[in-house]
Symmetry: C2
DNA sequence: TTATATGTTATACATGATATAGAACAAATA
DNA sequence: TATTTGTTCTATATCATGTATAACATATAA
């Protein structure tokens, strides 16, 4: 799996790395049990600092996406089904986007269609 | 309209102010033509610096949500219907959230239901 | 005129986030 | 023994964020 980073954007590098790995898991490119490149390896491949990759990995670990072992490295975790608190947290983060879409006269159906478009582009 | 800010959170204050005004417009609490409080007034009400409010207002102006006049103050703008580029930009920002939901075994329908929940909570 | 209020701009400062760099540690493997 | 793993530590540089103070041009009201 190839990870690319936009250095000129306003999204932190560690956040971009985190997002792309999550997208990789969602799309099936990364499956539970798969080994991730070591922090040094990935840092060298992308051309960034080891600490930046380590921060992304630590976040993914705290979020339950990966399992890290000091000796064997990092691998994709098997995740449980989402619970109530996650959905509430998700709603809170989505709210500003839904609100902006409503201001721009986007219907609920149009918004949901965009979500479906993302969903299917990841699923295949 | 009351604007409250979380100082301990990880979301910048100017971003929180921006989001809450957008939510106010989406919910109909703020309508096109309505006057916004002056930057000094709102800053005093919330208990933050004038420049922080000014930054939020400047962003809202750049995004087309409000119209600012050096003499008459700021007011809510009448917005056109969203265009193609906006939807593409929106998809890019939503993608990580959809991906995370998929990793947590959330179905498309469940995600869309959350969006609908937000939509209706703003609409009423 | 005078006073007040508006957005706007400028400078300065403090703090935290971000990213880099180099080094070292404990544990496991080849 | 040598290498690799995640992890931790110190250090530095840069940018974002937030505050503080001041001033400006413009408009309105007393």
């Amino acid at each position: 799996m190839i990870i690319e980073v936009d250095f000129s954007g306003d999204i932190p590098i560690y956040s971009q790395v985190r997002d792309q790995i999550v997208i990789g898991i969602a799309s099936g490119q990364l499956r539970p049990g798969d080994a991730l490149p070591s922090v040094r390896r990935l840092a060298a491949d992308i051309g960034i600092n080891v600490h930046t990759v380590n921060k992304a990995y630590a976040i993914l670990r705290d979020e339950g996406f990966i399992i890290m072992d000091r000796r064997s490295g990092a691998e994709i975790a098997a995740m449980k089904k989402e619970d109530g608190p996650f959905i509430e947290q998700l709603k809170g983060r989505l709210c500003p986007y839904v609100a902006e879409a409503m201001c721009r006269q986007m219907s609920l159906e149009e918004f949901q269609e965009s979500v479906a478009s993302i969903y299917h582009s990841l699923k295949m």
